[in-house]
Amino acid sequence: MGNSSSMLTQYDIEEVQQHCNNAFSQQEIVSLYERFCQLDRSGGGFVSAEEFLSVPEFAVNPLSQRLLRMVDGLNFKEFVAFLSAFSPRATLQQKIEFIFKVYDSDGNGKVTFNDMLDVLRDLTGQFISEKQRTQVLTQVLEEAGYTKESLLVLSDFVKILGSSGLKMEVEVPVD
């Protein structure tokens, strides 16, 4: 496991399952391993950014670069842990934590105005001017009781997103 052999032992599966807090069943972990090996064409034990970008559906996603930073070079165990937020067994808290991590690019536990602006820019591209983006973000922030200088932490995200009925699930195909 974590190398180029395509056989997972029962021990490996249990280790991975533990690492991701039982987010996936053993069968799903086996399927994810097949997928991991399929993506890891060079057989180095991790999937490089190039290999992720060779999946066209992923490459056209506006947030692909942000996600690449989080997922590039992970070994299989970490790959499964990364995906665990998308399991139907993951809690709302875990999902919000994942979203927070996408915003918090420097990982210091605080999301700044610029972090949010960066993500908004990725999502809207050239179709909104920078000035308009800043304006929109400032407006909705102030309406929610924050300011441009506010530093949002995880509990703020939980407060903002907790009631919105977050749907963030992916089905792992099991043969």
């Binding site: 399929q38 056209v60 949010m116 999502l123 179709f127 749907k167």
Partner: protein
């Protein structure tokens, strides 16, 4: 593109083959929930749909599925079946394979001893020479097919030699060409290959009329388009066979057809090819195997069994663009051969998708934000 909201169906069930995968055709802007109402902070921060799409693509994507070779279910797993399988292996490698290699060698000897004289001695008499060379190419292809114990069932009226028509087919391996060629000597458009295949291409295939392209050259497309047009207008030329997918796909899916074959002002005759996987998986995964290894694999299998359907010729309808025409023909072929359609360009195997797909998603999100800003 594929806005599947994170739920991608598992692809292994054979029953799914004939049902079109509608999720693939949802345009990215028209998501099932159209958000409306006043814009709040949570609407901007909630990136869960986009993240779900990305994670869905990481876990399974329709493009990679097109190129997955499907190994047959192992049936040799118990003490009775295993010796039977061993016997089968011995039979295939020690008896069938030498016999087939012999058949193929005899075929080549006959072919070369006829082709070389015909090619050089009849230089003056072009019409006769071309006719004989056509017959000989059909002959060597039949020998090839015999060398894999090819059982090909042809359905539909045989292609007729008429001007201003081209044939298009789905593409699984280079043997598609050989299987079709044994029935009718087509001219073909192909990627130039290295090695002995390239040699064959430049000598023998030249005689039936072939067009070469080079995927890696950008300007190549226009040159090839012109050659295609010239060839299809010529009355004496063999009918053109084109594989509009541009790459080999695993015979369970079909990728987008390139429009080149559909804007020549000719009638397009669709041909559908379906291999029976029970006997051998005929998909040539050019990333994993060289063509030689692929042929050897075929020659040591039991048989290559396939169906070929010659379908009703189609013309461009008034008001239809070549791209719509291409999609319509792809639909006809995919339905006949039981292939699932995916909305991807086969060349994405070699290059990244164009930024306009991402821009489309960005545009629809931007428009929804701006619209909701107006609402009170």
């Amino acid at each position: 593109m594929s806005s599947s909201q994170g739920k991608l169906k598992p692809s292994s069930s054979e029953l799914d083959l004939d049902r079109p995968n509608i999720e693939d055709y949802l345009p990215s802007g028209a998501s099932i929930h159209e958000p409306h109402g006043k814009l709040h902070l949570r609407d901007l921060l909630d990136i869960s749909p986009i993240l779900t799409e990305a994670a869905g693509a990481i876990v399974d994507d329709s493009f990679t599925r097109c190129f997955k070779s499907n190994p047959p279910e192992p049936w040799n797993w118990n003490v009775y079946l295993f010796p039977l399988w061993c016997f089968g292996v011995v039979f295939r490698y020690m008896i069938l394979f030498p016999l087939r290699a012999l058949v193929l060698t005899i075929g080549w000897i006959i072919f070369l001893s006829c082709f070389i004289p015909v090619h050089f001695l009849l230089k003056g008499n072009d019409a006769l020479r071309k006719k004989l060379e056509r017959v000989l190419v059909e002959l060597i292809c039949s020998f090839f097919v015999a060398s894999w114990t090819g059982v090909v069932k042809y359905h539909g009226p045989r292609p007729s030699m008429r001007p201003k028509q081209v044939f298009v087919a789905n593409h699984t391996s280079m043997i598609d060409f050989i299987i079709l060629e044994q029935m009718t000597a087509f001219a073909v458009i192909m990627q130039k290959h290295p090695g002995w295949v390239g040699l064959l291409q430049s000598t023998i295939l030249e005689s039936v009329g072939c067009i070469w392209f080079n995927r890696s050259e950008a300007k190549d497309r226009e040159i090839v388009a012109r050659k295609l047009r010239d060839h299809s207008q010529g009355a004496d030329n063999n009918p053109l066979l084109i594989f509009p997918e541009g790459t080999c796909v695993n015979n369970q899916y079909s990728v987008m057809f390139k429009k080149g074959a559909f804007e020549l002002g000719c009638t397009v005759c669709p041909v559908a090819i379906k291999y029976n996987k029970i006997f051998v998986d005929a998909f040539w995964n050019s990333r994993k195997q060289s063509f030689t290894m692929h042929l050897l694999q075929l020659m040591t299998s039991w048989a290559v069994v396939c169906d070929v359907w010659y379908l009703e010729p189609q013309n461009l309808r008034p008001g239809e663009t070549p791209i719509e025409f291409a999609e319509r023909v792809r639909d006809i072929i995919s339905v006949r051969a039981g292939l699932k359609k995916v909305p991807w360009d086969g060349y994405l195997k070699y290059s990244r998708p164009s930024p306009k797909h991402r821009e489309r998603k960005q545009q629809s999100f931007a428009e929804s934000v701006l619209r909701r800003l107006e609402e009170k």
